[in-house]
């Protein structure tokens, strides 16, 4: 019976999803789940919800809850990180300050000014967590769900000895989306409350196979097959259908010009390349429907929290269903030996031969009782590696800037961001970064406050 620590468990919606995933595996029903959050109110919410789940399903689960992670880390087998440092208030600054300068990010959690500043806030906290893991549970696997995934995992790999993997749902989510685009139906009688639930719970068709590699939020469908046959021709045909094309314009344009489909979403993808968001007309043309994630987060939490309250009160049952997140699959595979394949974010030790050694790549990994085994991928098609490298440039400077506390690298990271550099001059970029440093000062660690 493994001990699983969730750090940042006050991210109640996400934490609830993972905990339900865990208990859908018989091998994990008697786990010890330790919930950690520095926000007492949120911690109480997820604790009550987990207790309600235990009661409802008659689970032999052990539940612990604390605001001090060191109290529960000893003996942990798995540590799942889902923290958000600075919350929505800091996130607002990541988005709104660059927008003033004309850099219009839709999510802003991966690369660019938003991603780099999110990393500045988050890396120091994650490294503190890693120090505690090294001391208290050095054999534990750290599963990181927090963004910016690549910069965080790179920093962890570079400066700690913690076994870790970064997880996202963009590979499996995109695979299912592509299956829909090529017209593969899957029997599904579920009713979904909203699009998000549909995304997380809709089943994957059985006859779809894929092989995806690259970097997080920008990984490539190197193989996409339906019933064993290459399904790319079907995808090219689907692109000709305006009702399909209009749902994913940016990613179809990337496929049209670079030959391969990319993970995440058109919104996300539009931020990582120079082509789609450099002026308002282009944004409207490629992303006709705005999807501004900060605003969505701000407005969208209330109904979820109300639902959770009803579930805690027993007015509404907690639905037991398994999401597409890899986390619980990984833990089950390591506990039982039921092999599973995931896409994980790991150090590039020679896995993708034409991306820099040491960067963080998202590659197929098999998981068994011995742990996570990344696959050898080899060279990416050169045009895809080239796009990835433009993003890796930013990530590398951000990682070095944060670890060495070298402010110049932060300016340079953002100056090399493909979107920012398509819009601003170097001195405009410097002013923007300065303004962000000033505004976000309170969310940065002490050393950085001095630098600012």
């Amino acid at each position: 019976m493994p001990k699983i620590v969730l750090i940042g468990a006050g991210s109640v919606v996400f934490a609830q999803k993972l905990i339900i995933d865990l208990v859908t595996f018989p091998s994990l029903r008697n786990s010890t789940i330790a919930l950690v959050d520095i926000d007492e109110e949120r911690l109480e919410l997820i604790t009550k919800l987990t207790e309600r789940l235990k009661e409802q399903e008659h689970l032999p689960l052990s539940i612990e809850a604390t605001t001090e992670r060191r109290k529960v880390l000893r003996g942990a087998d798995y540590v799942i990180n889902m923290i958000q440092v600075g919350g929505l208030d800091a996130y607002r600054l990541d988005v709104e300050i660059p927008r003033k300068y004309g850099v219009d990010q839709t999510v802003g959690d991966t690369l660019g000014p938003g991603g780099v500043f999110r990393a500045l806030r988050t890396v120091p906290v994650l490294l503190e967590i890693c120090r505690d893991i090294e001391e208290l549970c050095p054999d534990a696997l750290l599963i990181n769900y927090t963004n910016p995934m690549t910069i965080l995992c790179w920093a962890v790999n570079k400066s700690t000895r913690v076994r870790n993997v970064g997880l996202c749902h963009s590979v499996q989510g995109t695979a299912r989306t592509l299956a829909e685009y090529i017209g593969v139906k899957v029997e599904d009688k579920m009713k979904y409350e909203n699009e998000e639930y549909e995304f997380f719970y809709k089943p994957m068709p059985a006859d779809i196979d894929y092989w995806v590699a690259g970097i997080n939020h920008q990984a490539w469908f190197l193989e996409f097959r339906y019933k064993g046959e290459d399904a790319y021709p079907l995808l090219w045909r689907a692109m000709e259908d305006p009702s399909i094309y209009s749902r994913d314009i940016v990613r179809f344009e990337i496929m049209r010009h670079f030959g391969y489909f990319v993970t995440e979403s058109s919104h996300h993808m539009s931020e990582y390349v120079p082509y789609f968001r450099k002026n308002p007309e282009l944004v409207v043309r490629y992303i006709p429907k705005r999807w501004d994630y900060y605003e969505i987060c701000r407005a969208g939490l209330v109904p979820y929290l109300e639902k959770i309250q009803r579930q805690i009160q027993g007015e509404e049952p907690i639905e037991i269903r398994r999401s597409l997140e890899y986390g619980a699959y990984i833990i089950n595979a390591m506990e039982t030996g039921e092999v599973t394949r995931i896409n994980g974010n790991v150090a590039n030790t020679g896995l993708i031969t034409n991306l820099p050694y040491g960067c963080c790549v998202e590659v197929p990994c098999f998981v068994d009782r011995l742990g996570i085994h990344p696959c050898f991928v080899g060279d990416l098609p050169p045009q895809l590696a080239a796009i990835n490298r433009t993003n890796i440039n930013v990530q590398e400077l951000a990682v070095e800037g944060i670890l060495q506390q070298k402010k110049e690298y932060i300016y340079e990271a953002i100056a090399l961001d493909p979107l920012t550099s398509a819009i601003l001059t170097l001195d405009e970029i410097r002013s923007m970064v300065d303004e962000m440093f000033e505004a976000e000062k309170e969310y940065l660690p002490e050393d950085w406050k001095l630098l600012v």
Binding site: D209, G337, R341, T349, F366, C375
Partner: protein, 443 residues
């Protein structure tokens, strides 16, 4: 050129399980639909295996019409999805020369089928036939998965990859699974609780990780190396465990041939091959292959006629489990021999490695291994460089590279001078003339 045996099994359609009857080679049993084609140039042997296959099908309620047998592989290759190759080119007399000529020079081999004079001459005999088969596959069923069980499998796989880079050609052995079983026996561990991670080259792959229910148990195995009972049974592998820190695959006798340490002096041979047989007996291959043909065929006849019951115990061989996984039966991990590319980062990218692969629907996916411990990579590289020169020699039909390959063979080099090695190779070329293509004898 004389070819003795040539088995090819062709399978079609899904749904097998991997029970293989004792005494037969790898035969898949279908639950629903399967076609098997058996190929051998030796008609009498072919008829035994055909009748045995028919018996297996009949005992499992499968129409025996789904079995075809032929001496002409081209007649059945078209439409094949899976092909197994386990051929022996040149009979026991050729192998006798592989063993006895080097022995006259002082190079004492036990099996001699992997590297060294025996392994390289076996490759010289076998590679042309394998390439002929592969040319037919490339023409008639280029998408088929080809699983080679024939030795020397690393050199053969390497030659095929050079000539037919797009073929799905893999080599399979049972030495990883078998060694895991032996380790479990030595230690008294239940095999099903033992997890292992093995990588290196065929017949010289390393147990890099050993876990029992999640716990690292390598320290226990290393301690066991000092137990005289185990050293008596598995002498050279235990000796290497003591000195290099890791357990190697195959058997003690095989292993003793692939390094300079155990067979170069009579006193060492005596010390490191106690008990003989698989533990390193001189020329053991000749006993193994030379057993009474008549009684062997009588045994085949008893199985074919139904006089002896068939055992349906699961074998150690990977072949059918791999097909099952390729057909969508779930992910299966196997150690498979294929081009390194970058899976083991401190072995040359072009060499053939035996690494953990995950087999899934329609694909074989090698896992990334990274650097081997330096002392292990070093021994692998000694073998790999000899293989590389043998491959070059075979491709260019250039005798110089065969000399070079044996100049650098760890055992041969420990025993002989350069001119002695050259004379030995020339003697072997002369003695094996009837088994080798004429191109070797120009100039």
């Amino acid at each position: 050129m004389k070819t003795d045996e040539n088995h090819l099994y062709r399978c079609r359609k899904s749904d097998f399980y991997s029970k293989t009857p004792r005494g037969s080679c790898a035969i898949a049993l279908p639950r629903e639909e399967i076609e098997v084609a058996l190929v051998d140039i030796n008609e009498r042997r072919l008829s035994y295996i055909t009748r045995i296959a028919q018996r297996i099908f009949a005992e499992n309620g499968i129409p025996i019409e789904r079995i075809t047998a032929t001496t002409d592989r081209r007649a059945v290759l078209g439409g094949s999805q899976y092909i197994f190759i386990s051929i022996l080119v040149g009979d026991i007399e050729a192998i006798r020369k592989d063993i006895e000529i080097p022995l006259r020079y002082g190079v004492d081999q036990c099996i001699g089928d992997t590297i060294g004079p025996g392994g390289i001459f076996r490759a010289l005999r076998t590679a042309p036939v394998i390439l002929d088969i592969c040319r037919d596959i490339a023409e008639l069923c280029p998408e088929a998965f080809v699983f080679n069980y024939t030795n020397p499998m690393s050199i053969l796989c390497w030659v095929v990859k050079e000539v037919h880079p797009s073929l799905r050609f893999y080599s399979l052995c049972h030495s990883v699974q078998h060694t895991a079983k032996q380790i479990a026996e030595y230690m008294g561990w239940p095999l099903e609780d033992l997890e292992y991670w093995v990588a290196g080259i065929n017949h010289q792959a390393w147990f890099l990780e050993l876990r029992l229910r999640g716990r690292d148990v390598y320290p226990l195995l290393r301690e066991k190396a000092w137990d005289p009972e185990i050293a008596e049974k598995d002498t050279t592998r235990v000796e290497m465990l003591k000195h290099l820190g890791y357990f190697v695959t195959e058997s003690s006798g095989h292993n003793s041939e692939y390094n300079p340490w155990f067979r170069k002096r009579p006193d060492l041979l005596q010390r490191f091959t106690p008990g003989g047989g698989w533990n390193g007996e001189t020329g053991f291959i000749l006993k193994l292959y030379g057993k009474d043909r008549e009684s062997y065929e009588q045994e085949l006849e008893r199985i074919a006629s139904g006089a002896e019951p068939l055992s349906y115990e699961e074998s150690e061989e990977y072949g059918m489990k791999i097909i099952y996984a390729l057909e969508g039966g779930g992910i299966f991990r196997a150690n498979i021999n294929l081009p390194n590319r970058g899976t083991i980062t401190n072995l040359p990218p072009q060499c053939i490695v035996e690494v953990p692969c995950f087999v899934e629907k329609g694909r074989i996916r090698p896992a990334f291994v990274g650097d081997l411990p330096l002392q292990l990579a070093a021994l692998n590289r000694m073998v790999v460089q000899s293989q590389e020169m043998a491959v070059r020699g075979i491709l260019e039909k250039c005798r110089d590279y065969i000399y070079y390959a044996l100049y650098y063979d760890p055992l041969t080099a420990a025993v002989l001078s350069l001119d002695e090695i050259k004379r030995m190779v020339d003697d072997m070329f002369e003695a094996e003339r009837e088994y080798l293509p004429n191109e070797w004898y120009h100039s």
